[in-house]
């Protein structure tokens, strides 16, 4: 029953195509996959996945389901009958249905018999018209799975081997895009926090007037988080108000006045002093009048307190490394909403950040986390097992606050060979890190149409020209056949090193070519051969570049140390090599990749 969509002899179906349409269809699909690389929102991923993709493969129904905890949420659907969206809007990952199964088990589900489908998934009974086939693709495998794409086809079509490879690549690119978008959002958020911390630290370090600095922290909270914010810190052992911000500037004086005339009681069982003593936050969703009465020193104090029209309050400690430096009090007036647990969490976060900003040592750790997090989200930690090949990878994102732009991958070709690439988006920061994800997605899409280096590079150059990408990207892209024939293009990247079984090393030298993003270069494919037991080593700047020496010295050191890879090309040996030649705590990304044909 299964038929191939792109072969001319296939009978007419929703997915069949005449011969001259095949290339066009492949391009259309590659374009959609590339589109994913540039998606910046989930809506754009959804548009590509159930809009353009479904159209290109002529699916009757296409749905995109994204994992959220232990549930799958349908975030987009195409061709659905009325009522289905409501029924399948959100369901458990353990539920017996093809999407949950694909996401849960990380495998493709292909079924073309409605009776069989209904037997396996009773919840689908009566929902599948006769003759339909069903294809469910996981968005990434294992811990990286973020959901599934569900497709049905009107005439019972199922993909052949080649088409399935393409669909899987597409689904993986979808998963990549979603993970990248989530990680970028988180990293952007963290970067914003880091910027806040860095600013606050700089201010605290440089300002001769810490009161002014704490005043800025108070003003951060107003009016978004609270109507009124007061910051108190320890001065000479006593909790002292150093900053007050109010949405109504006229009330600021009022608040100061109250504080001056009625300083808090250090032994009070609740309130700022209690938070200071215990280090535990307090949340008052409602401030009843009885509380004002209880806290008032005299009639005048009570009258002034009532005039503040307090409704709800949160008091959080300024704690850094186990020390309580002070407290932040946030208050909403009658016009505001009650504080809830989410507000408390936010206030604690603000206080933590403010407190930590006095502690520079923690800055670098946080910055490192951003780099690691984004790198892990978009790069494979280990490459898939490819039958017939031994592949090892070592990737370490750069240090400091500078997220680097290394990217890499190795993918089997239909002929039993291996397509591989290593590259470096020049520059640092989140933009470079996002660009590396785009490069990887585009390369994977293009190489699945045709892995031939000249084709892939032509498409990459065209992409840079068409999209006007101003960023400079070095890229080594190549293919090794099962016979050891290597064809590669080197666009401004380091040459690969070949290590023979006897420990000898040689560089695969090619005509120097410009990086992507410069333009004006014809791509030249370099050809050579490697022996069955040769190890091919690919790497980036971070492995060989040192400030106090010529690059040739670094390359020579690598070549000498790499002879050790000859006998054991596994991950352990690669890690040792990186430790041996790499810089401890260097600021650049370090990427190294070894490829060898598996023995036998």
């Amino acid at each position: 029953m299964s038929r191939s969509a792109w072969e001319p002899e296939s009978p007419r179906s929703g997915f069949s195509a005449p011969d001259d349409d095949v290339a066009h269809r492949l391009h259309q699909l590659a374009e959609v996959t590339t589109e994913l690389g540039w998606a910046e929102t989930l809506a754009e991923v959804a548009e590509a996945a159930v809009g353009h993709f479904a159209e290109a493969i002529r699916a009757a129904v296409a749905t995109l389901m994204v994992r959220s905890g232990d549930r799958l949420e349908m975030i987009a659907g195409h061709g659905l009958q009325r009522g289905i969206t409501e029924m399948w809007g959100s369901f458990g990952i353990e539920h017996a249905n093809p999407a949950s199964e694909a996401a849960r088990e990380g495998r493709v589900i292909l079924l073309d018999d409605v009776a069989e489908i209904e037997r396996r998934y009773p919840s689908l009974r009566g929902q599948m018209p006769q003759g339909r086939s069903l294809v469910n693709l996981p968005l990434g495998a294992g811990p990286h799975n973020v959901g599934a794409i569900g497709l049905t086809f009107e005439d019972g079509w199922l993909p052949g081997r080649r088409e399935l490879a393409f669909l899987t690549t597409f689904a993986e690119a979808c998963g990549q895009a979603i993970r990248r978008i989530r990680a970028t959002a988180e990293a952007t958020q963290q970067a914003r926090q880091l910027a806040f911390l860095a600013d606050a630290s700089a201010e605290l370090a440089s300002s001769l007037d810490p009161t002014e600095t704490l005043g800025r922290i108070a003003r951060l909270a107003v009016p978004d988080l609270a109507e009124w914010c007061a910051v108190q810190v320890v001065r000479d052992g006593a909790l002292t108000t150093v900053a007050v911000a109010h949405a109504d500037p006229a009330k600021v004086e009022w608040a100061w006045e109250l504080e001056r005339r009625y300083p808090g009681d250090p032994d009070a069982p609740a309130g700022a002093h209690n938070v200071f003593r215990t280090g535990r936050s307090e949340l008052y969703a409602d401030i009843p009048d009885e509380m004002l009465v209880a806290g008032a020193r005299d009639e005048e104090h009570l009258r002034l307190s009532r005039e503040l029209h307090l409704r709800s309050a949160v008091i959080v400690p300024l704690a850094a490394r186990g020390r309580i430096l002070g407290v932040i009090t946030l208050i909403r007036g009658e016009a505001g909403e009650r504080f809830g647990p989410a507000d408390l969490a936010l206030a604690e976060d603000l206080a933590r950040r403010a407190a930590v900003s006095m502690d520079n040592a923690q800055l670098h750790n946080a910055a490192q986390d951003v780099a690691v997090q984004l790198g892990r989200a978009v790069l494979p930690e280990s490459l898939d097992d490819v039958p017939g090949w031994q592949i090892a990878v070592h990737y370490r994102p750069g240090g400091q606050a500078e997220v680097g732009g290394d990217f890499y991958d190795a993918v089997p070709t239909p002929e039993g060979g291996l397509a591989f690439f290593v590259g470096d988006v020049m520059g640092h920061g989140l933009v470079a890190a996002a660009a590396m994800a785009q490069m990887r997605a585009a390369l994977r899409a293009y190489l699945s149409i045709d892995p031939e280096p000249s084709q892939v590079m032509t498409r990459m150059d065209a992409m840079f020209a068409n999209l006007g990408i101003a960023r400079l990207v070095s890229l080594l892209y190549g293919v090794i056949g099962p016979d050891g024939r290597v064809r590669l293009v080197n666009a401004g990247h380091h040459r690969p090193l070949v290590v023979g079984i006897d420990g000898s090393t040689r560089w695969i030298t090619s005509v120097p070519q410009r990086p992507l993003g410069v333009g004006g270069d014809d791509r030249v494919v370099t050809e050579c051969r490697v022996a069955a037991d040769d190890v091919v080593l690919l790497f980036t700047d971070g492995l060989v570049e040192r400030r106090d020496e010529s690059i040739d010295t670094g390359l020579a050191r690598l070549a000498e140390a790499a002879s050790g890879l000859a006998r054991s090309p596994g991950p352990g040996a690669l890690d040792r090599l990186v430790t041996q030649v790499g810089l401890d705590g260097g600021e650049d990304d370090v990427t190294a990749l070894t490829l060898r044909r598996a023995p036998g």
Partner: protein
């Protein structure tokens, strides 16, 4: 005049000779210091009486890929406003970085 921006490892000195702006780079050009070169180059690129911008590399001790990226950016911007960008006194180590990076043919070396 050395326009130091408080980073000790790198310094750009701007000089003017007729229609040529010479930016002498001293020290280590990398992600942390490239803002200094960009600031100095912006002045020269904005100056209509400048037609040639020379990066004097005699005292450049280190160049990383982000510095290289900035040179390409300056090369493109100079070309767009009808100026030329030249590299002068390129140290052997920098020459190697340009060659390995496939960029030796892009720049005008004097």
């Amino acid at each position: 005049m050395c326009q130091s921006y408080g980073v000790a490892d790198f310094c750009v000195t701007s000089e003017r000779d007729a229609d040529t702006a010479v930016l002498a780079l001293e020290g280590e050009l990398d992600f942390a210091t490239l803002a200094q070169l960009r600031a100095a180059a912006d002045v020269a690129l904005d100056d209509r009486t400048v037609s040639v911008i020379v990066l004097d590399l005699r005292a450049l001790r280190f160049l990383d890929s982000s510095g290289l990226g900035l040179w390409v950016e300056l090369h493109d911007r100079a070309a767009r406003c009808g100026k030329s960008l030249q590299l002068r006194a390129v140290p052997a180590a920098t020459q190697r970085v340009l060659e390995l990076g496939g960029l030796a043919s892009l720049f005008h070396l004097v």
